[in-house]
Symmetry: C2
Subunit: 231 residues, 2 copies
Amino acid sequence: MSSLEAETEPNSLPTQRSQIKRLPQRGEYDRQTIHQILDEGLVCHVGFVVEAQPFVIPTAYGRVGDRLYIHGSPASRMLRTLKESVEVCVTVTLLDGLVLARSAFHHSMNYRSVVIFGAATLVQDAEEKLQALKAFTEHVIPGSWSTVRLPTHQEVAGTLVLSLPLTEASAKMRTGAPVDDEADYALPIWAGELPLRLTAIAPVPDPRLSPGIELPAYVQNYTRSHPTELH
Amino acid sequence: MSSLEAETEPNSLPTQRSQIKRLPQRGEYDRQTIHQILDEGLVCHVGFVVEAQPFVIPTAYGRVGDRLYIHGSPASRMLRTLKESVEVCVTVTLLDGLVLARSAFHHSMNYRSVVIFGAATLVQDAEEKLQALKAFTEHVIPGSWSTVRLPTHQEVAGTLVLSLPLTEASAKMRTGAPVDDEADYALPIWAGELPLRLTAIAPVPDPRLSPGIELPAYVQNYTRSHPTELH
């Protein structure tokens, strides 16, 4: 059972933060991989520490270049206490499939994940915050920003946004077939991958939706891009 | 933009660990909700602290009663250092849908999540560890344990498994339609929910699969149960 083990990267992350290469020293391939995973994901898990206690909170995010903007509401109490910056670990995980081996021990999952370390800071500038809100919305539902009612000054002011540079970021993934013990390949047991996709089903209109408003294309054609479906 | 905010629970978790009610003091409804979310999810995010630095690592898990078993491989270095127990925060998040409001500010997500705090300990007992491995496998792909080649003593011994009681666990969720400002309901903008589901697509047989092995029912009929699809 080696689920989500880093089979493509033998040196796992947890206690080797210092060994993570910084983005500028890595190839364009790494940067593109990291961006692609972040852009396909919808929810990140933000880890932070308060009085030696770890917290892991799911929240929305958006990317602008080499910067991740994190919706700050779940961590607002902590932020109000700290005022300045906070050391975080932000992880985005995409589950691509179940890897079914002939042995239970070699069951695994195909996944792509990004782990980012750094100091998250509160965005104070109203214009940068508005751009972050745009990034949140366009990240979740591309094409909608030009249609919906945009945030007022008061709404922008009332939203907590954290900014985190993608300097210390790392991608990990597992793809492909199971890897069984050589002797097990002869067993009469099905093995392979069961791919999983996050799929939109039929939209549910708001019960208070005014009559005559058509479903916009950005809802009707909604999809999260996945590498195997890209051209 | 109130994505993943705790609209159903105004007092958010992060800095209020002490206020989380303990499971025995809560109703059976809470316990069932927590179990259901954990059983439907596939990946948890484990948060822990090493030298004041937070880490958030995705990994596989399984539930046995009021105990969560966590696959320990991603945290193995840390565990080898600590030897005994480690304070963790384990979060499981299910994304149920995008909530599209008439205003960008009120966009949100429908989700269910469980946050568990506690001291995770290494499972030493071989029989308990085997039961945890069974829970991992049956959690990910129900019905497969009786078909696959079971773990050997050596494989059980070589697997790190963490045990975490579900004593200090809390569920949060958001469901239903967007909540817009009253004045915005008159706007000619579509609003509603776009439900998302994690769906299996066509299985990909292992290229080394022996001829004549049929696809088992537990793969062919694979689905993650979702409350609205339960009877």
